[in-house]
Subunit: 485 residues, 4 copies
Amino acid sequence: MLFRQIFDEKLAQYAYLIGCQATGEAIVIDPERDIDQYVKIATAENLEIKAVAETHIHADFLSGSREFAEHHGVKVYLSDEGDEDWKYEWVHKGDYDYVLLRDGDTFRIGNIELKTVHTPGHTPEHISFLVTDHGGGADEPMGMATGDFVFVGDLGRPDLLESAAGVQGAMEPSAKRLYSSVQEFLGLPDYLQIWPGHGAGSACGKALGAVPETTVGYERRFNPAIQKAEISEDAFVDYILEGQPEPPLYFARMKRDNKQGPAVLGNLPQPRLLTARELVELSGRTDIAVLDTRLDRTAFMAGHLPGSIFAPFNKSFPTIAGSYVTEDAPIYLIVDEKEAGAAVRSLVRIGLDNVVGYAPPEALLAYDETHGKLSSIEEVKFDSVRSHSGVGDVEVLDVRGISEYQEGHVPGALNVAHTRMLVRHGELPSNRKLLVYCGTGARASSAASLLSRLGHNVSVVNDEFDNWPRIGEIAVGSPQVVATA
Amino acid sequence: MLFRQIFDEKLAQYAYLIGCQATGEAIVIDPERDIDQYVKIATAENLEIKAVAETHIHADFLSGSREFAEHHGVKVYLSDEGDEDWKYEWVHKGDYDYVLLRDGDTFRIGNIELKTVHTPGHTPEHISFLVTDHGGGADEPMGMATGDFVFVGDLGRPDLLESAAGVQGAMEPSAKRLYSSVQEFLGLPDYLQIWPGHGAGSACGKALGAVPETTVGYERRFNPAIQKAEISEDAFVDYILEGQPEPPLYFARMKRDNKQGPAVLGNLPQPRLLTARELVELSGRTDIAVLDTRLDRTAFMAGHLPGSIFAPFNKSFPTIAGSYVTEDAPIYLIVDEKEAGAAVRSLVRIGLDNVVGYAPPEALLAYDETHGKLSSIEEVKFDSVRSHSGVGDVEVLDVRGISEYQEGHVPGALNVAHTRMLVRHGELPSNRKLLVYCGTGARASSAASLLSRLGHNVSVVNDEFDNWPRIGEIAVGSPQVVATA
Amino acid sequence: MLFRQIFDEKLAQYAYLIGCQATGEAIVIDPERDIDQYVKIATAENLEIKAVAETHIHADFLSGSREFAEHHGVKVYLSDEGDEDWKYEWVHKGDYDYVLLRDGDTFRIGNIELKTVHTPGHTPEHISFLVTDHGGGADEPMGMATGDFVFVGDLGRPDLLESAAGVQGAMEPSAKRLYSSVQEFLGLPDYLQIWPGHGAGSACGKALGAVPETTVGYERRFNPAIQKAEISEDAFVDYILEGQPEPPLYFARMKRDNKQGPAVLGNLPQPRLLTARELVELSGRTDIAVLDTRLDRTAFMAGHLPGSIFAPFNKSFPTIAGSYVTEDAPIYLIVDEKEAGAAVRSLVRIGLDNVVGYAPPEALLAYDETHGKLSSIEEVKFDSVRSHSGVGDVEVLDVRGISEYQEGHVPGALNVAHTRMLVRHGELPSNRKLLVYCGTGARASSAASLLSRLGHNVSVVNDEFDNWPRIGEIAVGSPQVVATA
Amino acid sequence: MLFRQIFDEKLAQYAYLIGCQATGEAIVIDPERDIDQYVKIATAENLEIKAVAETHIHADFLSGSREFAEHHGVKVYLSDEGDEDWKYEWVHKGDYDYVLLRDGDTFRIGNIELKTVHTPGHTPEHISFLVTDHGGGADEPMGMATGDFVFVGDLGRPDLLESAAGVQGAMEPSAKRLYSSVQEFLGLPDYLQIWPGHGAGSACGKALGAVPETTVGYERRFNPAIQKAEISEDAFVDYILEGQPEPPLYFARMKRDNKQGPAVLGNLPQPRLLTARELVELSGRTDIAVLDTRLDRTAFMAGHLPGSIFAPFNKSFPTIAGSYVTEDAPIYLIVDEKEAGAAVRSLVRIGLDNVVGYAPPEALLAYDETHGKLSSIEEVKFDSVRSHSGVGDVEVLDVRGISEYQEGHVPGALNVAHTRMLVRHGELPSNRKLLVYCGTGARASSAASLLSRLGHNVSVVNDEFDNWPRIGEIAVGSPQVVATA
């Protein structure tokens, strides 16, 4: 058996390529949409991908299953658990070779057996796969691909749908289903390897570790959520629903597309190099999105194309792009030529396919010299921020998640999570300057760029929240209702 | 003035980017179709391409003028000389910004003036451009972009249309027009730089030098064709029509498309990595074309995908691909991943856009181990070739150009230029083994791969023609009529 | 805790980077010598490498510990177990910051604790590390870095020293020590992750799986060697010493250097591009080594620089280079420019630092046209091999390992493992042509290139051993004594 | 004949590769020190570099002649003109194959003849080469490699030695020698191509055009300096010595090394990736040089490693590095990994070989978060600059060349050319803040970073000089004597 964990650092997502060398066949579990990455690995190992499987309908990225089914004629294994809301629709839209799985179903790739285990909670149809290497002489499983059920040190959050898509009342029943799934999990042997669907940095859980895999026995002992499950169902439910970060709103769109079927991609988009004239024409437009991927936020603040969004090409890129770019909006990138391909991949993985053009950061210097002024956003430090409650012409805006806000914030600060800014910015006062902050300045910088693009008057606090003088000056509790006057 | 000569090594083609730094404007003369290459250079020099110009309707590559007009809104300057057969049709097919030029017309890019000179011969509508750098303080031209009129040490061949497209009786009138153009040329001042449209290796002339530019005075003194023109028109016509290599047949298609308008490209094709299964399915098919771009012909002969064409990715690549691949046939490449992009560019430049997939050469090794046998073609040396005239079961086939053949060949050898093989292979005997040779083994190897693909029984002479024992054993003169029995 | 398994595909070697994000500190376990690869990863994760640790004195590659100690001032943790023959000498040769460890010793990197466990067998001083993530809230280990003690599905071979370096009588005591270590291992909890020092393809064991890690419980159940240990010590010793492949002889050199201290590297060697003249001068020389890294053995056989060694740049590269290149010999590479850096890394990792120059494979084509003939080696298929015992002018030479030979070979065939050819080729008859074969043709091709370089007359059987007609024609048992007459 | 002009964009330097295809031999005229660039081109064209020639002892870069002589055994052709101060010394330091040339000497590379023409002025020993392509059938030259004698639209400056190295009284005699050389030049035929040693952007002349080559006839008509020579010697001398920019002081060092022999390089330096700790240790040190190569000066001003020099990796890089880095100082780069190799090349070309380490710009972000604050330099616009003469606590410092200063400057501004800042900064007042400006902000930014490193209190005017309000507020004439109080 050949086993490869394939990590998408930006989405903190793990796919798995599992192959039988004896027969030259392989399967991919939870592929992303740009499937050439898996074909390349398989080819190098002299394997052919004959099947793909999904643990569940993903919310944070578009699945590559349909792409495989369409282009390479592979067999698709999908969950048939969950109620009618959780059925894959796309498999009926073409002449696909698919199998719908229920708890206990098994299938083989060469000499490797995969057994389906229904593990609802994160989502109702969620399944996991027990993998047994018969070719290696084993008759019991080596590990379990757990998708968004069990992570290293965490569990997949059961509140995602409600948080992201506003399906009311879904959280608690989901948490209880997850509790039951954990009970089943505790019946598995200690030595089993756990191959999760996400690593540290994913929005699909709250405390994922930066270790790529774990074991049943280790999680039994040290996973905080599972320890709560050993106390009582209530303790578990309380724990699991507390303090989950606001998921990006684009998650709802991912769910919809993964169910109905992501658009078939064929090839990756190839944005063209923009001429200076085209750059000029993009300036200030809000019907298109210019994503400025530079890593240095000070440089962005000092000068950027009017209307462009600060989306540094680091781990926050999919979150920012997914949250601030409207579906189907033509996208333009400020990006180094050498990174352009990787940025396009990142966008395609969350369904932003309409990437039209790009210009290198140097083009901004030329723009400034020749065609007009770049925009700037003023940066301030925390020592110049005063606590207040909307008095005067300045308002303080905290763009961290609500649980961070509740633990301590600038007195009087408004709170809108940066991932919700696009739909909630209308709640903000439009006649006062907004002083935008977060924990380190990173989220604040992206949020400020969006607010500026939308016509707000903003400064950004490019500073660590730790620099806010704490004693006697920090407030706790929920945000006030935002007054839009 | 900024001046850049941009060389496509594979087509031996020169485009020119000429810019006025004072106004930031630039023009490209004779662009290829993948125009991003010029935009990139202009952008790096802080110039914007505002215009393109063509010297003539090209026969050896697709022009990028329409692509520029369509995508970047640049102004197009084209010839209005020549009769009705030589009018650009595509400019009327869209809302293009174009100017049709006649002899003497001038226009400016910033402070740079271009003056049109009608220089027919290679083609009837051919024009050249005298370039004057007013910004640099000059009031006389610095140089002339001569397209396929004057090369370094050669002139553009006037026989191309007749040779490539079978327009009978066109050669001699063309040669006489060229004679007149040369007379005009001799009236230009000696010091003028000559910026030609092609360099060494192009099929548009017979003796182009590997020096990128020249001057009027130097060509007056040392260009063999011009020296003949100083003797008499007849001497010139005889000289210019003698010994021109057979042009590839795809030239006719280029002419047609450049006149009617090449398809608008937008982005470059992105072939996908082939799986092993897909490779198997391509084996032996003649409705698609597999181009094996490996440089090492011995390796190709020893093992290649059945039906694949030997098209090494060197200077012969466009000729082989253009001559052996039918228009619109789906194309697959055996190519190193790192070269795939460059190979796609080469194909697009001659209108072969349907590039579907690729596999690295290593995949062939895997294919051979797993899926079936690769094909091979036997290689022999010249010392095992016997002269004969179709007696026995072997036939010797010389795939060099006719002028090479006439200078000396294996007695009894048939002759079909390798660039004409696709349309003429039916003339070859189908019941005898063909021993294919050329000067070095390179052209023979590609031709043999095509013949094998088409069902002929072939061996290739992988050797230098110099190794053919000359004394008493070499024949001269024209080829026999090919007997197909 | 951040955990990264770093795989060197060519050596099938795993190093581990383990970091504490809270303090920004990290350790590397079993680094290779080109340490920039680890620094790069650590830097990207905002970690600083403060320490390195070794599980044992490696035999198959040079350790990077001294390089780290010298260049980056990191602390080095090394074994103090084993007798005087197994003490690290280099730590006393400079002002290094080092700690020598005995069984039970613990140390910390940030909040991560490493506990030393003496696990002799593969080598006497071998230690493993139990890793506990206190920062993650655990008070028991998550996993064990086992070096060459426990692999996935295998154990580190205890015979290496005797086989590779001729230390007589070392095997059996080592095997017994390994048996004791296994007993200790079986006392560990099932859920513990096992992080081995090698993966599939390493010469340090015989049946390593292509799964990157395992658990104590899984190995307890399915590791064939451990299952034998559960029967009896004798059964274990017999099993473990049987059928181990001949290790490459360069292993002895690695041991020596890792003990005395590998030369400090500073920067990687930078071979220069060779001119045609230099290539000519290298032709046929045996005081230098030309490694031809092309993957296609047919191409190599058809034409290669006289005296060059077939060392395809795949997983066999370190074995071939380590076995066929004499220490300190100037090395020249036939390699694609884009692969040259990776090839240099591979060589440096086994102590071959004197890489002087390189030429791309295309240069061979030019060489052949201009400067003289390339050498070739005749290829034959198995159907043309006749069994015999040195009668006539042909001798069959089997270059597989002895255990493969014993299972079945061509009757009368001589046997020298391809990794021992450099020291044993003198035993071969010098007046008869050698027909060299192995299982697939790969090892035979490299061995044949070496034999040709050393003056033998060879052909290579480029075929699968399965194509040898088996019935009544296959011999078993040990090889005859080679007659050199 | 094969002719290649090879451009180093950063130094605006042209080398020439001229080869005879018939014999496979080639020569390089005026090679840079990293000679692998030429070997690569020659190899691709199936040529071998057998000789190199120099037009003169270069002042702006280190010659590659010795490197060729040492490593590839090529023949070196050097000038034997000029007095004792202008003799190449290095040729006697080894067993080199060299020829010293005097006016009229000829030699051949294959069928190509080079004839030496003594063309003093720029330097006394300066020679040019008339190139005749006998292989192409010519018996008169095609062009002349003119080195730093004739450029496109300019002549090589005769004042360089005096300006750069303080050799008093050298300018006017040099100008007169140049006048004589021009007279000779005017005797050449109009059609001759001129292949200059520099293009636009070089400090070796004042008005070089961005066209890569020219002709005798065109220069005769439109070269402003030559037109002055047609008036009188005095007019010529006045013109040629007027308004030459201050050459960088490192030019004197280049002259010395090119005469005595540049250090033999072998391989290019390979800076290693710096750890965060090493970055901390470099902070604020002036015994080493940290060159920050980011292009965006606003980003540099906002945050850079204390003591680092702003040396953007554009055309100004060699000038800044050569002027601000002391010979032999250990050099560290802030540079993208992908540009590091190119930056090392640029440094080596001006003799800065001691390149020890590098860190990507992102490392600065990490540094700022973890290890201490980055430095910043305040930026102002021209509208906040007041004219004054040292009154108050602010001083205005103009770092443009003196001729620019004389044409118009801020009243009261001090003037030190940015290329002279390292040796002249002691003349500046140390107790007042310096407001540093130039024409566009580019030179001012680099100068300000140096001044800050040296302990001065600076702001930089990041603005266009055109934004200085001109009417009634602009001063002309020479700078005041700098008051150091």
